[in-house]
Subunit: 180 residues, 2 copies
């Protein structure tokens, strides 16, 4: 499947509501369960997605579109949310994510990007030369990866409750060492 801007935006627009349906007002053990030490709970994932809205995808697109001599991205802090969201409720984070995403998609749409813009380069601190098209495609994949993660982390909270069904439920065992 080739990247197409309107189709990518259609997916990006669905993420906040998907997470609201899945998580808003859910019992605390579902919201705060993890896959083990140093892994994200659903609450952490929503915070991480907010960080992406504030510091990653659109800020990096701006750097590319500024067409400066060195379109170098700021490094991205995967744990910014840990300090930022102490004392916040999941509901309020879900609402904040929805507002930020909405504004960012409005911004993205307003640029009316064509193919030549999508080919513009950025300089990623770890990956080197990337294009705006690759950045936006990665934003979509990043969203979907974290929706998958939220579902998987929730599923694992019942690992001891399914008895002999474990081998028929690969979501419980496919990420013994979770990377996202």
């Amino acid at each position: 499947m080739r990247f197409e801007l309107e189709s990518a935006i259609d997916v990006l627009r669905r993420t906040p509501a998907t997470l609201q349906i899945l998580l808003d007002q859910i019992a605390e053990p579902w919201a705060r369960g993890t896959e083990g030490a140093d892994t994200f709970s659903p609450f952490d994932v929503v915070g991480h997605l907010i960080d992406g809205e504030e510091t990653d995808w659109i800020p990096r697109a701006r750097i590319i579109l500024a067409r400066g001599p060195d379109p170098r991205f700021e490094p991205y802090d995967r744990f910014r949310h840990r300090g930022r969201n102490v004392g916040r409720s999941l509901s309020s984070l879900l609402g904040e994510f929805a507002r930020l995403r909405d504004a960012n998609l409005e911004q993205l749409h307003s640029w009316r990007l064509g193919d030549a813009d999508l080919d513009l380069p950025g300089n990623h601190p770890g990956l080197g030369r990337v294009t705006l098209r690759q950045l936006l495609a990665s934003w979509v994949v990043h969203d979907l990866g974290h929706i998958a993660q939220v579902s998987r982390v929730m599923a694992k909270q019942y690992r001891d409750e399914v008895g002999p069904w474990v081998p028929f439920l690969p979501v419980l065992t496919d990420h013994e060492a979770p990377r996202s």
Copy 2:
């Protein structure tokens, strides 16, 4: 996390709307993309979940609750949906799933199950003795596993579009041989 009926029902109730937000009216390549031969597209997953409503979870709970001498489940056909849903639209399947789930949760709720009921046994054709509690916990995990699968399968449609970002997006590579 221990199984608790109301908390399990709360998750089961969210699945149809989660999938509607994620998939309804989405472009065909997102809906019909797979992870390779003999793997499910999002369209297939919704069909498979409908099969679960019609032939798996609640029918098996009924067998357990009938307390007969051999509470043996019918084998479950993972590919029933392939023939059943030829010519159907994803939108109509999403609506059908929502109606079936709603009716099944109403049924489940109406049984007012207590701990003694949840301990009742069934006989799974492949797994042997299971309890009603394990069946219901597996239903929750099965839902969440398939939501994760839908997100992962969608993400993979952009695998060639993210360029050098692949190693930072484990959803693209964590299931080279997908099992669900």
